[in-house]
């Protein structure tokens, strides 16, 4: 069964529809992260109103608590969480390696301790397929090993081979329950290992392909080199997903190369820290210069926050640690990302993606608020 329909190409950029049981998702799509099946500081209705059609939940967190069995008994993640749009679960690999403790990677799987209660868990590829089928999102991901940056060639080579063997086991463990399963290309920052990983996985006929292990602290140019080396190998009739990315400029650079799907904690996490996206760059709301600024965050933005509140008041709520601050700032950033993706799709449709991209970058990177740097620390 088809997973994506490509409707329009503009250079290598693609505009299409990801076909899911919870709607046809306009691509390129950005998925806000909703670890527990809900985006932090957001309600579903807020997201729906802003045009969010797909979110990412974390299988690792849901497996540990409340447990995938419980979610299955209660009808699956859509019924359990109340989210009516599409959903993807990551495999848990990234979280096991970044949040878990005392891990040991074995041929059969990975041993780790819960970051919640210290309990010990052994997860295999088969088990993570089962966990994700129990959770029941529209798309599941293979268990992979996400190597840190930098890692040696030897370590990365062995890791790619392990990820390939795990991918094969995931593919075989998958039952016919309607859920799609994506393979994840790894290979660290070695071009030949990225190539090997891609070639290994392409033979397994996954429903889609992700590029993983990026945005882990490497220079940006390395990241794009790793995308460039594999992107044209990927089948044109399957979705391509760049995991854990990114900033607006990263989304442009990914779309330009033919990526269809993105996720990142950036818009939501930065919102909670008071960093807000505008078409004139990103703004650090804590800056004292906004103390008496009666203008909205972005005068061209039509989100609820910009229609209702001034920078001065939003800054006050942030400084006073008011809970509503998280909510209002998150609304703005998610709205910005959704509007940004919409304009990207429209520009592909009208064959003007490159113009849009250049114009956006000139305004955004030269904007008066583009005065700070932030790093996406993964999902």
């Amino acid at each position: 069964m088809k997973t994506i329909e490509i409707l329009k190409n503009d250079g290598r950029a693609r505009q299409g529809k990801l076909l899911t049981e919870h709607g046809n998702i306009d691509t390129p799509v950005f998925m806000p992260v909703g670890t527990q099946g809900i985006v932090k500081a957001m309600t579903h209705k807020e997201l729906e109103e802003m045009g969010v059609t797909m979110i990412l939940a974390n299988a690792y967190h849901l497996y540990l608590r409340p447990g995938d069995d419980l979610i299955r008994r209660l009808g699956g993640i859509h019924k359990f969480s109340g989210w009516k749009g599409a959903m993807l679960t990551d495999s848990g690999g990234y979280q096991i390696f970044s949040l878990g403790v005392l891990r040991e990677i074995k041929e059969d799987g990975v041993l780790f301790q819960s970051h919640i209660d210290g309990s010990r868990h052994f997860l295999t590829p088969e088990k993570m397929v089962k966990v994700q089928e129990n959770i029941g999102a529209d798309i599941a991901m293979c268990l992979d090993e996400c190597v840190s940056y930098p890692s040696s060639y030897e370590y990365t080579n062995d890791s790619v081979d392990l990820t390939t063997r795990w991918a094969k086991r995931c593919r075989e463990a998958k039952t016919e329950d309607g859920q799609k399963l994506f393979g994840i290309i790894q290979g660290g920052f070695y071009e030949d290992l990225r190539l090997k990983s891609a070639e290994d996985l392409l033979g397994m006929d996954f429903d889609g392909y992700a590029i993983g292990g990026l945005s882990v602290g490497e220079p940006k140019s390395h990241m794009w080199d790793m995308v460039d080396v594999v992107i044209d190998l990927l089948p044109k009739d399957k979705p391509r997903y760049m995991m854990g990315v990114g900033m607006p400029e990263d989304l442009l650079n990914g779309v330009k190369r033919g990526i269809d799907m993105f996720d990142c904690i950036i818009p939501t996490r930065l919102a909670r820290n008071g960093t807000l996206f505008t078409w004139d760059g990103k703004m650090n709301l804590k800056n004292a210069r906004f103390t008496e600024d009666a203008r909205p965050i972005d005068e061209t933005c039509s989100c609820y926050t910009c229609r209702t509140f001034s920078r001065a008041y939003l800054r006050h709520l942030l400084v006073a640690h008011e809970l509503t601050s998280f909510y209002l700032n998150t609304i703005h950033n998610v709205f910005f990302y959704m509007e940004f993706m919409k304009r990207i799709r429209e520009s592909i449709e009208s064959g003007s993606f490159e113009v849009f991209s250049q114009e956006f970058k000139a305004k955004y990177e030269g904007g008066e608020y583009h005065d700070e740097r932030s790093v996406c620390s993964g999902s």
Copy 2:
């Protein structure tokens, strides 16, 4: 200028309209607490949709940060915060005595240190009138001393006299800027001091009268004794406000005695702690028995939270410390309070308040979830 119109009496219970520059407010009214001009974990639109017409903000907090001068420069609290409904500011007295440190009460005013940065402040009755005029809510309160429970007769007696002198100074300091000013009856838990306080203040012709210094740890029966001793002295054509109260049963007991206005942190604070109000009593969502409970919090409730989420999922979000948990639980509790006040008003209109009150108490106090006790710790 009139401050309230009483439309209907049912026993001593009154239904009417509080007249403000931000709408005519149906009374009896419950004001959710919005310390910074916004209710914690709520947006204004959420509150408006739920029928919240009036909120309470804290002059103490706004004076310390961002400062009443700044709020005035930015057009007053309504323009600053974006809240379009009515608003009342408390005088700061309660917060100075409960949050401030190193305080010294002098004839002229009160010396205290900020709980935020330790800075020293001296606030006089005149200054607190000015601060509240700068903030610009619809209703301001006199600076008073709120004595703790228990306090000696002598201390309370002196305190009442001071509060009376301060009230007189507040009355004289008030300028003609459209803001209403309420006096606050104190007197601790001594009937004759309550009487004295009421008689002193009634001569000053305030726009409304509050009963303060209650719900500070005393037995409930003491609280109602203190209301009973003064309530019939209060002018029938002015609003009566019981400060910092309370639980649903308290609202019934207050309305029954002729109170028009209430405020309390109870519905919002308990929501954040996972205690939710239902017509069958209040529910501790942390209770393990809700782990797989697919029902909404209250099957008769039509709030967004009950229309969308199960107890099981809401419990999961609470246990996982998800930010959205605060929002969803607060929506439910505020909705419950608004619906409760609406039914109270309707029952007065139809002359059936006492029947409503009895039926509510029987169901609520006998309800299966009424299994825990909580104390309102003031606003």
